[in-house]
Amino acid sequence: MMKFIRVDMTTLSSTTTDVPEKYAGLGGRALTSNFVNDEVKASCHPLGRNNKLIIAPGLLSGTSAPNSGRISVGAKSPLTGTIKESNSGGSSSQMLAKMGIKALVIEGMPKGDKFYIIKVAMDGVTIEEAPEKILNGCGNYDAIKILNEKYGDHVGMALAGPAGEYRMPSANISFKDPDGNMRSAGRGGLGAVLGSKKVKGIVIDPTGAGNVPIADPEAFQAASKVFAKALLDHPVAGQGLAAYGTDVLVNILNEAGGLPAHNFTAGRIDHNDNISGETMNATISERGGEGKVSHGCHKGCIIRCSQWYADKQGKYITSGFEYETIWGLGADAGIKSLDAIAYIDRAMDDVGVDSIETAVAVATAMEGGLIPWGDGEAVLKIVKGIAKGEPLSRIIAGGTAIVGKVCGLYRVPVVKDQGIPAYDPRAVKGIGLTYATTTMGADHTAGYCISGNILKVGADLDPLKKDGQIEYARAMQIGTAAVDSTGMCLFVYFGIADNPAGYQALIDMINAQYGISLTSADVDELGKSVLKVELEFNRKAGFTNLDDRLPEFMEYEPIAPHNVVWDFTPEEIDEVMKF
């Protein structure tokens, strides 16, 4: 029987029970979003005592299924005020699943200023004062080292960085990866929720954990093999992502004229090859040393889109160096050196802020005159200043919407106060529908319409035309909500989008593990049900269809080179979430 753990930070105590029946068949996002909708007062202040944070492995996490080690974190978001699910790699998902833990809930709020570590082990949960050394500005890299010394290298961790301690709306939660670096549940400020509950970190000690029970091991193995083959045989999932990382998109979006530049005033840049995936690959290869072209964010990832980016001496600077971060700093904020961006990426991981929100906020601040355009050194200093709570740093860590207000701008690229990432909705219409309508605030991963619009995987739509986009954005959001519930990395989509056998194998693995017989129609229903509870929460929190709109400037400022504006009508946008 799986366990359901609740930690009450008001009384500094915990209870472990069987999983409530309603949640028994759920995992990942399906579980976190149902829980938040059931238990969190929708009108609560996200940093007040009535918010709750839930961490849950996916349905397949902890098994031998490839790429199944993503972990979901849910709460009401301090950035958007909506429901939030943010997922991450790292080792914690597999550990929790193997320990038989369905979910860990953190609720309440202690009196006083002390920060705590929640330690989860096979023999129970303990709540201890956080070591002084990891507080008051200590970065995540050092904090992981210090906690490794205290609890052992083998433990998993989820940490609030300094930004989380200060409850900044862009604070992330950092999950330790197998190499002692980190991956982040980035979006929506969930690190601030952890910080508000005075939880500096969660330490997971899997010593004594067994294997995840599998109802039909043979069927599971067989399906897992088909699934792995589908991933490895696909040129994107099997080779492309490992070679160039997600940063390969710089040149594609630049060619397509959908790479937002200079705070969303152009769709193309000239220095694309300074920051492209091709250049990243060549730089890592040439420099050698600790650099690695491909790397997995958790054990069992066979796609390995991550990498270790090293300096000229071959010393590790950062890992998980993603397209969206590089786009934000490199194209939107005009920082032309990949090294400069790498140091900022490291600093963002270290202080614990979402690298997308921060990069978009930085570009907005440049337009507002707070930072010189393209000045990587200035940005690095400001990001590092988040650890000390410096005023300008706090403004940036407040997120794009706050920066826009502080600077008196109308050109503020947000939906529901969350920064718009990396793909201009005017030039790639499908993704604009996702940004507008997702329950999460602007989020490309909620329904990755770039796939069929630009990459020609899974569909073939004209990115400048409306045709088919509404249905596509709806289907992608439904499918994503289901995949986010399995613990699978979203990139498995590339392997199964055009391969029905691969998709069936994913369903077969779930069936073999739980001894059930889901069909693809059931999986579709699961996705729909997740979106429905999220929409219900947002409605209760005061959101209406009028919040499902892109920033107005996109309707009247055409973007070059295609000189297009955002032209979906409100009625058309509202069709997306009708199902």
């Binding site: 040129p235 999932a237 492309g240 060619e255 295609h562």
Partner: protein, 74 residues
């Protein structure tokens, strides 16, 4: 007529990333692809002047042709 050809990702291995070539009117994308010794079936994304196209599309003077193998991210 002159066109510019841009290659990306693995297509750059042992090839120039950008070149301007002289070609006859009526040249199709697949003709250019062959000139570069790229098997047409390896081309996943084709853009002319930033718009998605196919192997059968015909090029015009001054066009910028971009060719990508299957790549993706997110």
């Amino acid at each position: 007529m002159k066109i510019t050809v841009r290659l990306f990702a693995t297509f750059r291995e042992n090839r120039e990333k950008e070149s301007t070539i002289e070609t006859a009117p009526g040249t199709k994308v697949e003709d250019v692809v062959r000139t570069f010794n790229i098997p047409p079936e390896d081309v996943a994304i084709i853009m002319i002047n930033g718009r998605g196209k196919t192997l059968k599309d015909v090029l015009s003077e001054g066009d910028v042709l971009a060719l990508f193998p299957p790549v993706g991210g997110g």
